[in-house]
């Protein structure tokens, strides 16, 4: 099919430049339609938040004991999405994995924007969002300090660090490519690109320093991939709530994050590759590697789910066991089984090589995984709180319109940045693609 297309000859440096920069020069009507759509979603989300700021959190569906709901679910979802990019760009870089090259730029962009999206939620879920600066330990005359024992405080540092490092790493990778765009652009925009390219001229000395810096940042970013979602999982694991209070959470969350992140890369990049005709640079082999990552992490997740049940039963802790039994059989069973089907069952077809090389199967299963991973967080956040310790307070939480609005708005916000990125910056790493292309030695083509 499309992506199995084998070019009759490899791309040249010039073709790589042109194919990838072409996208930036000619936005289509479809692009503007998509941009209009995500902007609308974003405005709807903004309006929803305005309603919440004005009338209070009462417009959301949360209530005791379900003090967290869709906001935190979606927050964890986006933090998870924000994992694959740095994993692909940093860890795979360090292990010199070749398939990374075609997909890493888009994944990295996805990471930065997903973390930007995730960062919205800790603010907008607050009862008093205007006091968000209190979460930073700044010196003040009132001797007010933050509580470093609180996992939310750890979140502040973990996520802001992760965001900073991911964004810087993203930008460093972009510098040589921006220089290429600069060279292909004219007018005022050329000045912007000139500024962003930091005077990149592609000299040997620049490349020498550049590669050292890139390797350094890759090494810095790699552990953050593991730490940030571990810290996010502590939001739950540290609290005493049954169904949260579990040591399995950090590895389980990291695996889930990589799972959802890789699936999201497939979801985003597959249509792009086809639409932009980038078969020469990103093809089915890349997606197959992503699918294999998903298969691995899906297996880890399935094992983690099973372990949770085993521990719930084996511990004879009535609260734990009640939660896990209820998750699978109670009022939220539909959410639980959605999660199991999407995360444990849906990826199974990928074990068959022909299916994981089929773009349709790839795309549809990746959508399932995205849905499933949202529901995984829903199960964790909502059902544990819903049936907490005191049976007289048990409650059935259902999100309100405002919560749905803000969640949808977050997708709009993410899409908005991603679309701007597609139009402004090369979505495939041109400089690195060129490393895989035979150097333009005179007569080289003929020699092959």
């Amino acid at each position: 099919m499309f992506l199995n297309h084998k070019p009759n000859r490899p791309a040249t440096y010039g073709e790589a430049n042109r194919d990838i920069i072409r996208v930036l020069l000619s936005p289509s009507m479809g692009y503007f339609a998509l941009l209009a759509l995500v902007t609308t979603l974003m405005i709807y989300g903004g309006y929803s938040w305005y309603m919440q700021l004005r009338y209070g959190l009462g417009v959301a569906g949360i209530t005791h004991p379900n003090m967290w709901g869709v906001y935190i679910v979606t927050f964890v979802f986006w933090v998870g999405i924000g994992h694959a990019g740095t994993l692909i760009s940093a860890i795979l870089y360090l292990v010199r994995s070749k398939w990374r090259t075609g997909v890493y730029r888009a994944s990295e962009a996805m990471t930065v924007f997903a973390v930007m999206t995730a960062l919205l939620f800790p603010v907008l879920h607050l009862g008093r969002a205007w006091q968000m600066y209190w979460f930073f330990p700044y010196p003040n005359q009132r001797y007010l300090w933050v509580n470093f024992k609180s996992p939310l405080m750890w979140d502040v540092f973990a996520i802001s660090t992760y965001f900073t490092v991911s964004a810087v790493f993203f930008f460093i990778g972009l510098v040589p490519d921006i220089a290429i765009v600069r060279d292909h652009s004219k007018g005022a925009i050329r000045k912007v690109y000139s500024l962003l390219s930091l005077g990149w001229a592609g000299t040997g000395r620049q490349w020498h320093h550049y590669m050292a810096a890139y390797g350094f940042f890759a090494a810095l970013a790699a552990p953050l991939v593991l730490s940030v979602h571990s810290v996010v999982s502590w939001d739950f694991a540290v609290a005493i709530t049954a169904g949260w209070h579990s040591t399995i959470f950090p590895p389980y969350f990291v695996a889930g994050a990589i799972f959802s992140g890789c699936a999201m890369v497939i979801t985003l990049l597959l249509p792009l590759t086809i639409a932009f005709k980038w078969e020469k640079y990103v093809n089915i082999w890349h997606f197959e590697q992503l699918a294999k990552m998903c298969l691995l992490t899906s297996g880890i997740l399935t094992y983690a789910y099973a372990t949770e049940y085993f521990v719930g039963w084996y511990s004879q802790n009535p609260y734990e066991w009640q939660i896990f039994a209820w998750r699978a059989t109670g009022e939220y069973a539909w959410a639980f089984w959605t999660m199991v089907i999407c995360n444990c069952v849906a990826p199974l077809p990928w074990y068959i090589p022909s299916l994981r090389r089929n773009p349709w199967v790839l795309f549809i299963v990746s959508i399932f995984i995205n849905i499933g991973m949202w529901f995984e967080r829903f199960n964790i956040v909502v059902s544990s709180l819903s049936h907490n310790f005191d049976p007289s307070t048990w409650w059935y939480y259902w999100p309100s319109e405002v919560e749905w609005g803000i969640m949808i708005g977050s997708f709009g916000w993410f899409g908005f940045w991603f679309l701007l990125f597609l139009q402004a910056l090369p979505a495939v790493a041109i400089a690195e693609i060129k490393e895989l292309i035979a150097p333009p030695v005179k007569g080289a083509l003929e020699a092959k």
Partner: protein, 1051 residues
């Protein structure tokens, strides 16, 4: 202006801004007489006023038909709370109803000034119109219809009106008439429950506002295992379990209307067993247990066992509730005599005020219909709403020449008045009450009138004077204070006529005439007003029977249909008199959790037969019409009965009452028992599904009714409890049989009870004891908390979303014991002020922290609203301000100035009333004690909940002080803490409830909380199921053998 220099500019600026600030003070807009605030301190401090400290006025508040001695807490010109007058002998606490009176006082729906035909008039014009109508009455009569408000007012009304009816809508007339028929006294019985070993009730809601203000305390005393080493057993013969019935140990669900025959059968059985006099036997008649069994649907064994219990103990029988008849009351009186109840337990020195039965009201109605009434004064009585359907009192009222409402609260009856002369309420007026025989309560204004109201006494005096009403009694000499000062005036003339200068003087002269026994009256009066009561112990004696025979007759069932409709008083709104008080609307019904409206209780079988479930609407067809209501499925009624609370479905009683629920009273037809008293039962109805959802809102979880064996509601064997009481036990909590996972024994041997250690509490660790055996689920603690801590009312829609703000909720756990008896356990749940609080660690901004006094403190200003603390709280006691809530004026005047009003986005929870703790500490220091801690007995009732609890189930104290009650409770054999195994080290100790149906724990595994898991093979050395081992209650865990360690027997 070019010469304007900087100094002049500043002067001008100062003058103009000062002037505008002054004019903005709004002196003319002082509608509710809010205090004019001044930032300057007093140069000469007025008497009684210390800024920042409350002043207390001993007065009496109404509590349904009764009055209770209370202390009104006055701050800055207004009453902000009502507390118990602990000096008075009758009531140790306030009840929720006293607080509803407070909210009634501040109701935004009160009439704020005289009105004529809906338009404001001046008092002069209003009084002139009334005077003119009274003086022009001619052959017609002046009638008064109102609730009873004490003997002084009764006397004045008697002089003013030709017909005076002091009407109580629900049930009291039957009690008085039965007493008259049997004993020749028109009085209500006094039930000395505290001496009882067995209480057999036929449905009287004696823990829900039916009895006098201290009946719940007397019941709690009988229930207290430490007093007399017995626990009263409570048998209930009734077709429905209301809040009072929820406390019953044995519920015998009889067919509606069969209570009478059961009562007589038991009485006959007991009379035989105890050898009662032939006179009593003759009055009871010969009713066999078989007869009772077939009429009631109960088993003969059940009735016999109730009778045997009755005969075996010092027992008291209580009559029926609103559906009870005069005959049932008489039968219970005879049962008490047959059982040999002592005078202390049963005499007719109960509420001795005047309550008129339906007969009087009927006479008034006849007079109205005949056009004989020139003027009708209506005060705090609402027959248009409360009479059973078909009475059509409204039509009769309109036949009076002039209908005057002398009540400031709106009601369906007051709405028919053409002239409204709003009267001051109990917090603004003078008065005398007689709650029980031998005791009088004085009432004094605890604040100046909130609105342009006058006291009813002043109105009557003024109109009486102006219209020249001939007083029934000779007019007394004018009694100015100066005339009597210092005089011996033993036989002072009875105050009468309309000569008194004002109502205050009238009350004073009434007191002088009736209560003063000589000496210095001025000193006596001063002491009386300060104390709030005059007590003269009346000798109690068992009344002598005057009746030779009593004709018992069952009340005929009305209507037809397959179900009985059982009507009962609402636990908070009673017969509807408190329906417009938002606290009474929002406080969950203790049994169902229902708020803001009506519900129909049906059994599971009935619900299945009708094909409905929770919140499905059904249509109930009664003889008086049909109504639609939502279904609440609960095993509180037998299969052939559906139950509906009265007190809802108002149409003109104010914004919080109107349109919520259905008026059950209007749905009954006017039925009379054999003695002519109106009754609400039995009614037969047909019920069918309406095929749609209703709008019920319950504050309880709809997921289940039990605590799922999680040791929230725990019961212990009553016999064992009675034997040991709360004496310090070597194994605290051993009676409950609950065993928790705990630390490894090797750690405990080293004295390590906890990995982290408790926070340091050098002087205080405040704690609370909750005796679930004494708790009756009435909710007074919760209402007191609303009043004290400025908790907002959120309304029906928001409660449906789960946003109620109560800091104390009364969990109701419905457990089924081994014997198949339902045991309903009320467990008040508030912040546990944990030593290791889950909430404290997770707050990112340190808005909640552990104070040095052991309080889990909450800094509202610092809270940013992550709500993480609530998620981390295993007790789910934190409440979040989802919105900024409003207090419609003048509710805002009730706000406690010591407690901040929280705004949107902030978490809040129980503080143990930290503001009161501060006051106590400051006062102690002011007394010169700078180093010592405040002794424990001072603390016992400091928080509002503990102060309010009518059964004194809550005790506050200092856990650091050995010898305080709270420390003693931690050593009791029935102590427990919900979720203790989480090691939160809660500061609240619960004491388990007595239960007559469960076995004491015989080995390691107990049954009290359903913790029946196998403990036999658990090894203590390895995180086994040991008994608890907390700091204050540590014990040696090396087992010495089963004989002295009952719970170790299984090892």
């Amino acid at each position: 202006m070019t010469n304007l220099n900087r100094r002049d500019f500043l002067k001008a600026l100062g003058i103009t801004s000062g002037a505008s600030a002054l004019s903005a003070c709004g002196l003319d807009d002082n509608r509710y007489r809010t205090p004019v605030e001044s930032i300057l301190p007093y140069v000469v401090k007025p008497d009684q006023v210390t800024p920042g400290t409350p002043t207390f006025f001993a007065t009496s508040a109404l509590q349904g038909p009764h009055a209770a001695p209370v202390l009104a807490r006055h701050r800055d010109g207004r009453v902000i709370n009502v507390g118990a007058n602990k000096r008075a002998p009758t009531a140790p606490a306030v009840q929720a109803f006293n607080l509803y009176e407070l909210q009634k006082h501040f109701s935004p729906d009160r009439v704020t000034g005289p009105m004529k035909a809906g338009a404001p008039v001046s008092w002069e014009d209003g009084l002139n119109e009334l005077s003119a109508a009274v003086s022009a009455k001619g052959a017609k009569k002046v009638a008064y219809l109102g609730g009873y408000k004490g003997p002084a007012l009764e006397q004045l009304v008697g002089e003013f009106a030709d017909i005076a009816v002091f009407w109580e809508p629900t049930g009291y007339d039957a009690l008085v008439d039965a007493a008259e028929a049997l004993f020749g006294v028109r009085a209500m019985p006094h039930y000395g429950l505290h001496k009882a070993g067995y209480v057999l009730s036929f449905g009287a809601p004696f823990l829900s506002g039916w009895g006098d203000s201290s009946i719940a305390a007397r019941y709690a005393e009988a229930r207290d295992p430490n007093v007399g080493h017995s626990v009263v057993r409570f048998g209930l013969v009734a077709p429905h379990r209301d809040q009072t019935g929820g406390n019953a140990d044995d519920w015998m669900a009889c067919a509606p209307g069969s209570e009478l025959v059961v009562a007589r059968a038991i009485a006959a059985w007991v009379a035989n067993k105890k050898g009662a006099s032939a006179e009593i036997k003759a009055l009871i008649g010969n009713v066999s247990l078989d007869e009772a069994a077939s009429a009631s649907g109960l088993s003969k064994e059940a009735i016999e066992s109730a009778a045997a219990n009755f005969a075996a103990h010092d027992s008291i029988a209580l009559p029926g509730g609103v559906s009870g008849s005069t005959d049932l009351a008489a039968a219970t009186y005879l049962l008490n005599l047959a059982g040999g109840a002592s005078a202390e337990m049963f005499h007719f020195g109960g509420f001795s005020g005047r309550v008129d039965g339906y007969a009087k009201l009927e006479a008034l109605k006849a007079a109205l219909d005949a056009g004989e009434i020139a003027v009708l004064l209506v005060d705090d009585a609402n027959p248009v709403y409360a009479l059973p359907g078909g009475a059509d009192f409204g039509a009769s009222i309109s036949k009076a020449g002039l209908v005057v409402s002398v009540d400031s609260a709106p009601s369906e009856t007051a709405a028919l008045a053409s002239l409204v002369l709003p009267t001051s309420d109990v917090f603004e007026d003078w008065g005398v009450e007689q709650p029980v025989a031998g005791m009088y309560l004085t009432r004094q204004p605890a604040q100046s009138a909130l609105h342009d109201t006058r006291s009813l006494g002043d109105i009557l005096l003024a109109v009486g004077k102006a219209a020249g009403v001939a007083a029934a009694a000779p007019a007394p000499a004018a009694e100015g204070e100066e005339a009597v000062e210092g005089e011996e005036a033993v036989a002072a003339p009875v105050a009468a006529g309309f000569s008194a200068a004002n109502w205050q003087e009238y009350v004073k002269s009434w007191v002088r005439a009736n209560l003063f026994s000589g000496g210095d009256f001025s000193a006596f009066w001063e002491k009386t007003v300060i104390d709030g009561f005059v007590s003269a112990a009346a000798a109690a004696s068992v009344p002598g029977l005057v009746a030779g025979a009593y004709a018992f007759a069952a009340t005929e069932a009305q209507g037809s249909g397959e179900y009985f409709l059982h009507l009962h008083n609402h636990s908070q709104r009673l017969d509807g008199r408190y329906a417009n008080q938002p606290w009474a609307q929002e406080l969950p019904d203790p049994m169902t959790g229902e708020v803001w409206g009506s519900w129909l209780e049906v059994s599971k079988a009935t619900a299945d037969a009708l094909g409905v479930g929770y919140n499905d609407a059904v249509i109930v067809t009664t003889p008086a019409g049909e109504f639609e209501v939502g279904v609440h499925v609960l095993p509180s009624v037998p299969d052939n009965v559906v139950a509906l609370a009265l007190g809802n479905g108002h149409t003109a009683a104010g914004r919080y009452a109107n349109e919520y629920g259905v008026n059950g009273a209007a749905m009954a037809t006017l039925a009379k028992d054999s003695k002519g008293n109106a009754t609400y039962g039995p009614i037969k109805v047909s019920v069918k599904s309406a095929g749609k959802k209703a709008d019920l809102v319950t504050a309880f979880s709809t997921f289940g009714m039990s605590d799922e064996g999680r040791s929230f509601g725990v019961a212990v064997n009553a016999g064992q409890l009675a034997e040991h009481g709360d004496a310090a036990s070597d194994h605290p909590g051993e009676m409950t049989g609950i065993h928790h996972l705990q630390l490894d024994a090797r750690l405990r041997e080293k004295g390590i009870s906890d990995f982290y250690g408790l926070p340091d509490h050098p002087n205080y660790r405040f704690g609370l004891t909750v005796d679930t055996n004494a708790c009756t689920g009435c909710g007074a603690c919760s209402v007191a908390c609303y009043a004290e801590n400025n908790l907002p009312i959120v309304g029906k829609v928001k409660v449906a979303e789960g946003r109620e703000m109560g800091w104390i909720r009364i969990n109701r756990y419905w457990e089924t014991d081994q014997g198949g008896q339902d045991d309903i356990r009320f467990v008040p749940m508030m912040c546990q002020h944990c030593g290791h609080a889950g909430c404290e660690n997770v707050c990112p901004v340190l808005a909640t922290y552990h104070s040095i006094d052991g309080l889990n403190a909450m800094v509202y200003n610092r809270c940013a609203g992550t709500r993480y603390c609530s998620n981390a709280c295993p007790y789910t006691v934190r409440r979040f301000n989802y919105h900024s809530y409003a207090w419609p004026e003048p509710f805002n005047l009730q706000l406690n100035p010591d407690v901040v009003v929280r705004t949107m986005g902030v978490m809040e929870k129980c503080t143990f009333c930290v503001q009161r703790i501060r006051q106590v500490k400051s006062a102690y220091k002011d007394g010169g004690n700078f180093t010592a801690t405040v002794p424990s007995e001072v603390w016992e009732q400091v928080p509002a909940c503990a102060e309010a609890c009518p059964s004194q189930a809550l005790t506050f104290g200092n856990l650091v002080e050995e010898g305080s009650k709270v420390v003693a409770a931690t050593k009791s054999g029935r102590r427990y803490q919900p979720l203790e195994e989480l090691n939160a080290f809660s500061a609240v100790t619960y004491l388990a409830k007595a239960n007559f149906h469960i076995e004491p724990p015989s080995h390691g595994g107990g049954h009290g909380a359903g913790h029946g898991e196998d403990h036999g093979d658990a090894h203590h050395d390895e995180a086994g199921h040991g008994s608890d081992d907390h700091g204050e209650a540590a014990h040696d865990d090396n087992h010495k053998g089963g004989e002295d360690h009952p719970e170790a027997g299984g090892h």
